[in-house]
């Protein structure tokens, strides 16, 4: 650190490496995706520009099915992770001596890669998986076909299960951190004032952790909408989620599919970006 450097220049220098990565690779990628979705072809003779790719997407029932699946899986996974994660955090917070151990246990799925989670859910819930074998041993079913199809299924239950296993603990860890000493003191005050257990949860604890649940949920939603591995491994080839469909179009040897891939990528980026921006705007308004 040399003090001779003026403050503004020093801040600029400090920010340069991180901003270079994000602006060039991320911002450049967004702009390139936009340009190529309109027909721009880098390093090739120019082609006519236009909104053909977007018109084609809007008219394609396969894309509509893909958007539906992506949003559905994202919403169900996020809602489930928010409810289960909050419940788990409240449960762990209410424990006595075993609390620390359970708080540590909550973090066990956080470092597990999503590919591993997808395989674990496949081996657990598929028609010949572990749960199906337990059902067979209990005499509930006679063969794998008697077990409901929970992986590679039409609804996307396998994808949801995989996300729940990873993201409910994520929400729980964030909420548990928000359940600090202040909340405990408020709960005690409410108890002294005669609030019963349900009233304490409803009027003290839930409002206190709501911002944490909201922030964690938005991150989970953005992630589930934009992630590739889990829907690729646990979903059906058709309809596929938006990222899977975008990558599929990108791999198409026919260069005519390139604008479609870029338009799908942009739609995915807009979907996640718009949701998070809306959430930030909403919370700003509420906190005023």
């Amino acid at each position: 650190m040399i003090t001779r450097i003026p403050r503004g220049l020093r801040i600029a220098l400090l920010l340069t490496p991180a901003l270079a990565v994000v602006v060039l690779l991320f911002g450049g990628g967004l702009l390139q995706a936009l340009a190529q979705s309109l027909g721009h072809r880098p390093f090739l003779p120019p082609a006519p520009l236009g909104f053909d790719a977007y018109r084609e997407l809007a008219a394609d029932p396969a894309v509509r099915a893909s958007v539906g699946l992506t949003v559905r899986v994202g919403l169900v996974s996020t809602a489930g992770a928010a409810v289960l994660g909050t419940a788990a955090a409240l449960l762990v917070a209410s424990l006595g001596r075993t609390r620390r151990g359970f708080a540590a246990l909550l973090q066990v799925t956080l470092p597990v890669p999503h590919i591993v989670a997808a395989l674990a859910v496949t081996l657990l819930l598929s028609q010949s998986g572990t749960v199906s074998r337990l059902a067979h041993a209990a005499g509930l079913i006679a063969e794998p076909a008697g077990f409901p199809a929970l992986t590679q299924d039409a609804f996307g239950w396998g994808i949801v299960a995989s996300y729940l296993w990873k993201e409910a603990p994520f929400v729980a860890v964030v909420v548990l951190a928000a359940l600090s000493g202040r909340v405990a003191a408020l709960t005690d005050a409410a108890r002294v004032l005669g609030a019963n257990r349900w009233q304490r949860v409803r009027h003290v604890v839930l409002p206190a952790v709501a911002p944490a649940v909201g922030a964690a949920s938005v991150l989970v939603f953005a992630f589930t909408v934009g992630s590739y591995e889990v829907p690729f491994l646990l979903g059906r080839p058709f309809p596929a989620t938006l990222p899977v469909l975008a990558y599929e179009q990108f791999r198409d040897p026919d260069l005519a599919a390139r604008p479609l891939a870029m338009a799908l990528a942009l739609v995915t980026a807009l979907l996640t970006g718009a949701c998070v921006a809306a959430y930030v705007a909403l919370t700003r308004r509420l906190s005023r």
Partner: protein, 266 residues
């Protein structure tokens, strides 16, 4: 008895999915409806094959380089964002957070052709570069939080006592943010270690990391191999996080704050 139901369900939900992974990893034959597999060492032997060891070394190297570069860039950006008030700070913060929210796959599709053009496609350098996109924002956030928590008086006191800028950095600032830098390095390593689609997109299948080998095993339907590779992919992160969580728990308030900050990536 009733009091144990909730914790029991929690333990079951968290740990149950690991059970079939462990069973399949040591399985020879495992036909339906057997509950226990016929044991075999094939999965363990597979992990020692040159192809898997090479992929693990590549994963490790890429992860370490990504962690070092991202933590360095994130520490610099975090110092500016967390330690200074300046015009445009909100915009800079928003720009740096954007890749946490918008999937990197969506933006990488657009620049893949440039990686090809400039000879970075199918190279380890290209893979490192593209993995910096999710890693750098993450490290910047963690470090900005750490610098924002610094006690401004501590540096002033050091200045009064005659410490120069270099001494202040070395004896006051660095020790205070070191635990956060460790967390940033650890989690950016994990981001890299788990990454599949960006590696495939830019590495083109020639840069083979462990996730690519695992995907190939799943695709070929070799479940014992896939389960063994899954454990090889999941164990290092579990051990790393388990070890550092205990170390960081002794670092006072930082671990409490970094709980959520460190988990900003679902």
């Amino acid at each position: 008895m009733r009091r144990a139901v909730g914790p029991g369900v929690l333990v079951l939900g968290l740990l149950a999915p690991f059970v079939p992974l462990l069973a399949w990893a040591v399985a020879g034959g495992y036909g339906y409806p057997a509950l226990l597999p016929e044991p075999s060492a094939r999965g363990a032997r597979l992990l020692a094959t040159p192809a898997v060891v090479e992929a693990a070394v590549t994963s490790m190297l890429v992860g370490i380089v990504v962690a070092v570069l991202a933590t360095a860039a994130g520490t610099a950006a975090g110092r500016a964002l967390g330690g200074h008030r300046f015009r445009g700070r909100g915009i800079v913060a928003a720009v740096l957070v954007a890749p946490v929210v918008v999937p990197a796959l969506a933006t990488t599709l657009g620049i893949q052709v440039f990686f090809v053009r400039y000879g970075l496609a199918d190279t380890v350098a290209g893979v490192v570069l593209v993995q910096l996109v999710p890693a750098v924002p993450y490290a910047s956030l963690v470090m900005a939080a750490a610098f924002a928590r610094l006690d401004p008086d501590a540096e002033d006191q050091a200045r009064m006592l005659g410490a120069g800028p270099w001494q202040r950095t070395r004896h006051v600032v660095a020790p205070a943010v070191a635990p956060a830098a460790a967390v940033a390095a650890l989690f950016t390593f994990l981001i890299s270690w788990s990454e599949y689609i960006l590696t495939l997109l830019i590495g083109g299948g020639t840069v083979r990391t462990l996730p690519l080998v695992l995907f190939a095993a799943i695709g070929s339907g070799d479940l014992p191999a896939a389960a063994a590779l899954s454990l090889a992919l999941a164990l290092p992160p579990l051990l790393l996080v388990g070890f550092t969580a205990r170390r960081l728990a002794g670092a006072g308030p930082i671990s409490r704050d970094l709980g959520p900050a460190a988990m900003v990536r679902p």
